[in-house]
Structure formats: structure tokens, C-alpha cells
Symmetry: C2
Subunit: 202 residues, 2 copies
Amino acid sequence: MKTTTEAGREAGDAALGTRERIVRAASRLMQRQGYEGTGIKQISREAGATLGSVYHFFPGGKQELATEAIRHGDQEFTDILREALDGADDPAEAIAACARTVAEALRASDWIDGCPVTATSIGTAESAPDLQRAAAEAFARWRGLVEDELRASGFAEESARELAHTVISTLEGAELAAQLARDEAPLLIAGRHLARLIDSYR
Amino acid sequence: MKTTTEAGREAGDAALGTRERIVRAASRLMQRQGYEGTGIKQISREAGATLGSVYHFFPGGKQELATEAIRHGDQEFTDILREALDGADDPAEAIAACARTVAEALRASDWIDGCPVTATSIGTAESAPDLQRAAAEAFARWRGLVEDELRASGFAEESARELAHTVISTLEGAELAAQLARDEAPLLIAGRHLARLIDSYR
DNA sequence: GTCTATAACGAGATAGAC
DNA sequence: GTCTATCTCGTTATAGAC
């Protein structure tokens, strides 16, 4: 049995490898403070690692680390979305359930943990195009998940494709609105409206 | 007739007062680079003002200036929204037209000028709550505009209130998605879906 | 109101011992 | 792989002449 010599600063991350702890800390901090607002020193501190370790695993520096953090956030929401789509009877209800899940998480964090992909990538179009690409890939993956589910439920190709676009856009915007207003209403209303919109294409 | 002694660096801003030039430069730069990614020196340079002038007009420093920049962005989109609502026959068509307007502006900027309010306020929940409040007020104002128009068109109170929420959330999210994908499709699709959703409440 | 100079601090990144 | 020390540069903000 392997033992971990260092206790990570993050609850529950003690058993993780150093690289993974760094990525998680980066993702969580940039989710709250953005790319420019988060320092590498702060990340290494929170991850229970040294600055040298960060540059050992990410020789490309902050940009490379942030790109990995976005991929981590991508995977997080992919899991939430897949679970919602698998757990409900029809796609419309699944999307509404997904909105409720996001609302709960947002409230639980006292409205500070928004979408990690958006928060990390916004404002970096000129300075760090790598982040933009990783974020665009995340949006595309989420959209693809919804589109596949709609097609599998018998929706026409074009309807499925377009509805998937709006589902992701609306969830993203409603999360932003809910965070700013410190109120889950925007997300819950959006979930119901999306379900209604989807049903109107049956 | 008054003369302006200094030619501002911004095209068309030459005749403006110093304070206004600073606010506009701040709004435009933070729209592209975010709050943390934009420096006061860069703002003063682009505004054709000195650092001393910035602190003269905004003794509260960067936060005070950013708050004013958000209010400026608020007003900008308020104007776009009001024009769209006044120019169309019914609210559904007005919202779709608004989405097209936003898409055009986004493409014209080569996908770098997103929503100034969102870009400036995101990631500041912990460090600058003033910005959050100003951004929340902007969202609420836009929502109020849409809600009033819907009620004036005969929609039920609750429908108008909830639709207004989703209209703003979806436009905001679709602008984000369009910017990341460098493609206006998310916005154009969102505009059509919102019109359809609104019509379903008639 | 405008300008320059600078203080005080933190950032990203690197070197090299262990 | 980990750690510490340090280099260099940019940041916000202030002081004080004009």
C-alpha cells in the first residue's frame, strides 16, 4: 500500500498526486477569480505544492496550467450533464433537472462558484488564445451531448442541433444571471422555459 | 465656442471631456481584457490622459473607475435594447432583431468585444463587490425593459416577468457562446428560439 | 486640472541545490 | 520531483511641482 507523505491543503485531495492537486486548485481558484486574477503562487499554496513543482509539471507556465484547468472544468460539467440526461425519462425534463443541479451548487457556494470554463477563459481572447480554444471545445462537447440525446429521442436533425445550441447558451447565461443576482430564479425559470421550448418541437 | 486643446487617442472622442474619455477607454478595455487584466496605466494611455488625471476624477482608484465603466456598458446595451423594442412590431421580433444586432457587432470586432458588463464584473465577487452590484443592476434594468414591453403587449404579469428573465439570460449566454466559437450561429438561433418561446405564451 | 517621479508591492518565471 | 532564493518587470497608488 502506497502512502502519501504530504497532506494537501484541499479537503479530500490528500490522496491525489501533485499534478492533479495543482490542476484542481487552479480550476477552483480561476473559477472564482478568473485567469488574470489568480496567481501561480496562490495556486501552489492552495495545492500544497511548491512553485518549483508547478513549473516542473507545467513548463508552459500559467497558460498551460490554465488550459488544463479548463479541461478539468469541461469534464466536471460533462459529468453533471450526462448524469442528468441519463437520469430523466425525456430530454426536456433532464435539462430542467440540470438547471436545478447547477442552481443548488451555486447557492451552496454562496454564489461565488460559477462556470469554471467561462470564468477562466473570458477576457483572454487577445492574450491567451489557447484558453479560448479549450473553452470552445468544452462548449462544443456539451452541445454534442445534448444534441445526441435529442436525436436519440426522435427529434429531427436540425431541431436537435439548434435546440442543443440554445440549451447550452441559456444554461450558461442563466448561471451568470443567477450568480450576479444571488438568486436561483434565473436558472429555475430557464430550465422550465427550455423544457417548454424542447416540447414545442415534438 | 469652446475648443479642445488635446486630441484624444480614441477616434471620435476628441471633443469629449477628460473624465468621459477615461470612462469610455476603461469600458472598452475591460470589455476585452476583464477587470484584472486591464491596467490603469493602459487606460490613461488609451484615453489620452495622464495617470494623475485618472486619480483626480476617480479617487477611489480602479474599483471606482470600473464601476463607472460598467454603468457605461449598461447604458450602451439599454440603448440597443430600447431601439430594438421600439423598432419592431411585436416583442418577439424585437428580441430576434436584438440578437442579430449583437451578432453583427461581435463579428465586426472579430469576436473580441463581448458584453462589457459581464466581462468587467466576472471574477470579482470576492475582491470587488461593488462591481457585482453595478452589474446586477444592469441585468435588472435590461430585464425590466423587456418585461414592461411584454406587459404592454398584453402578456400576463407572471409570463412577462419570467420571459424577461430568460430573454436576458439567453442573449447573454448566446453572446458568450458566439464569441468563443467565433460564429454568430448561437446568437441567431437563440433569437429565433426566444421569439418562438414568447409566441407560445400568446 | 495636468503632469512626472517614485514608492511599495506582487507578479511570472528561472536557477540550481538537494 | 521538491524546495528556496532571486531576477526582472509591471502593478496600484501617492506626492508634489506646475
